[in-house]
Amino acid sequence: MKMKWRLIGKIAVLEPIGRFDAHNAPAVAEALAEARNSSLKDAIVNLGQVNFLDSTALATLVQGMKHCRQLGGDLHLCCLQQPVRIIFELTRLDKAFDIYETEAEALHAFGG
């Protein structure tokens, strides 16, 4: 899996690509930790290019979300493909995360 990450204002935007599982979850965890170390309290994970997540990937996102909320920020998800959306619905993680249709909406929700 590849991952792009950029900064929009003071919001870290991560874009994992492909299968998001135990093998590459550490890369996402590192990027989120890096954002946290840079005092960025808000993050967006754009899952538009992800076709599968396993439980380790979900745990990584949950941890990232908790860290953001500890800093008074949040972690938003956007652009979920249908199979990924189903995973979030089945695990009810759609109740834990703020999930948006588009990256623009996710950004806007931060007041950006």
């Binding site: 396993d54 089945l90 695990t91 009810r92």
Partner: protein, 520 residues
């Protein structure tokens, strides 16, 4: 090798011994030509004289007795001795004697060269034997200290040094070394020299003020797994001769050998560690399997079957049948901790215990999950994990099933008249949110009602083409198996999913409970 000063007198003596016929012929030629006597002297001693001494040995003849012509025998500027002829005179005789002296000098030179070659051969043979010994002894060295000391000892024996050492500087660990002899520098000095080894694999020679205490230090890189991770060090005290090329070559050969030995020991140690880990994991698996219920409880009107197969030796899935509560209900649970392997197994053991402790006191499934989440949330946050859990509670009197689902899937309910459907979770997994969203739900659970609580190891099992088994197939499978007893349904699900993913490694833990309503 003896110095030239010592070689000079031995030179002519050796020629006399080894080339006696040639020297004899030379002497006889002079006698035939009319000489009264022919002799060879060296440093004031007569080594041989012709005609042969009849009454006294040559050594007792005074050199003065061999008067007349004389010619010096010299080699490389060294005076080896003289040829003397009595009873001859004239330029022709003098020139002939000079020519004989030159011939004798050449013979002496050849003898010396032969000696040197023979000596080198013997030396090389010794070194080959020593290397062979070293290689053979290495097989019995199974620990690092011995493996480092042995070549140091051998080097000190084969090369004239005041001390030798082998140091091993692994990337991820403390340096280790073995040494022999009184003149070995301190470890810190050797480590400093080690860092100065040239990158091209050549040796490092430090002399005088560059090395500690003014000694000569020769450091040969030792390659361990394609890296310069060790070195062979030879030290000579101040004022000693520098290390010569044959010694450096020999040291390289020993260094090469040492590298192979260190690799052997590392491999041995790794194999040992792996074997220990395997044993530990096998024990952990036994422990984990014992945490799972040995058998399903006998409940009036309900068949229960539970199975678990971790993907690795141990896993993060669990299922449990809680002790029957005073009164009537039977509680059971299936859980899946995120991740797999040992870390998931540790969290699984913790989650199982906490959940078990919440089963007493008449708590409903949602209450159990609520208080388990409160207790586990901080720990789960600490280790960045979560646990999906389904809890079911069967009431044999009302013949109903009450359940709550914290993010767990797949849970499949198949009423007596079908079709099978997924019971979706309403709460998030334990450890995701500090509060619980789970609510209790109730299903009629009379005869032929079927509930299969699996883990994602079934739905996400993939075949060779990368396709997942998926929920649709699972639903249809459960429907097709619904008439069978609970234990058979459990077995058939494993078989069907296993057949689908034939040849693929089981990627995730597979655990399930099958509950089926039967006539009481």
């Amino acid at each position: 090798m003896p110095s030239a000063g010592e070689a000079a007198p031995a030179g002519l003596a050796a020629v006399l011994t080894m080339r006696r016929p040639q020297v004899e012929a030379m002497a006889q030629a002079w006698l035939l030509a009319g000489a009264r006597a022919f002799g060879i002297t060296s440093h004031g001693r007569v080594l041989a004289a012709w005609p042969g001494p009849e009454a006294q040995p040559a050594a007792q003849i005074e050199p003065g007795a061999l008067g007349g012509l004389a010619a010096e025998v010299t080699a490389d500027g060294w005076l080896l001795g003289e040829l003397r002829v009595t009873g001859m005179a004239g330029a022709v005789a003098a020139a002939r004697l000079a020519a004989d002296a030159t011939l004798l000098a050449q013979l002496a030179q050849q003898e010396r060269e032969l000696d040197a070659v023979a000596e080198e051969l013997v030396g090389a043979q010794d070194q080959i034997l020593a290397l062979y010994d070293l290689a053979r002894a290495a097989r019995s060295h199974l620990n690092l200290p011995e493996t480092l000391s042995a070549p140091a000892c051998e080097t000190a024996r084969l090369v004239a040094t005041d001390g030798a050492a082998v140091l091993f500087v692994p990337d991820d660990g403390e340096p280790a070394w073995g040494w022999h002899g009184p003149g070995v520098p301190e470890l810190a000095t050797l480590l400093a020299a080690f860092r100065r080894l040239p990158a091209d694999g050549r040796e490092l020679i430090l002399a005088g003020s560059e090395a500690s205490h003014g000694c000569n230090l020769l450091l040969i890189p030792v390659h361990v797994r394609q890296h310069t991770a060790a070195a062979l060090a030879l030290a000579r005290g101040p004022g000693c001769t520098a290390f010569a090329s044959p010694e450096i070559k020999l040291a390289h050969a020993i260094a090469e050998q040492s590298g192979a030995q260190i690799e052997n020991v590392l491999l041995y140690e790794e194999t040992l560690a792996r074997a220990r880990l395997d044993t530990e994991m096998a024990l952990a698996r036994t422990v984990q399997m014992r945490l799972l219920p040995a058998r399903a409880p006998a409940i009036t009107g309900l068949q229960l079957a539970g199975r678990a197969t971790p993907a690795l030796q141990v896993g993060g899935d669990f299922y449990d049948f809680m002790p029957a509560q005073a009164g009537r209900t039977c509680t059971f649970a299936v859980g899946d901790v995120s991740g797999k392997g040992l870390s998931a197994a540790l969290v699984m053991a913790m989650a199982r215990s906490v959940l078990r402790s919440k089963a007493s006191g008449g708590a409903t499934p949602a209450q159990m999950l609520d208080s388990a989440n409160a207790e586990l949330y901080d720990d789960l946050t600490e280790v960045a994990m979560f646990a999906t859990v389904f809890v079911g509670q069967y009431d044999p009197v009302a013949r109903t099933l009450r359940y709550a689902n914290a993010g767990h899937s797949p849970v499949i309910y198949c009423p007596p008249d079908g079709p099978a459907r997924l019971l979706e979770a309403d709460g998030t997994a334990l450890g995701v949110l500090p509060f619980s969203l789970c609510q209790d739900h109730e299903l009629p659970f009379g005869p032929a009602a079927l509930l299969v609580i699996g883990t994602d190891g079934f739905s996400e099992a993939s075949n060779a083409a990368g396709a997942m088994y998926g929920y649709e197939r699972l639903l249809r499978l459960v429907e097709s198996l619904a008439v069978q007893p609970a234990a058979a349904i459990a077995d058939e699900i494993y078989l069907a999913v296993g057949a689908f993913a034939a040849g693929q490694l089981q990627a995730d833990d597979q655990t399930l409970i099958v509950a089926k309503g039967v006539l009481s």
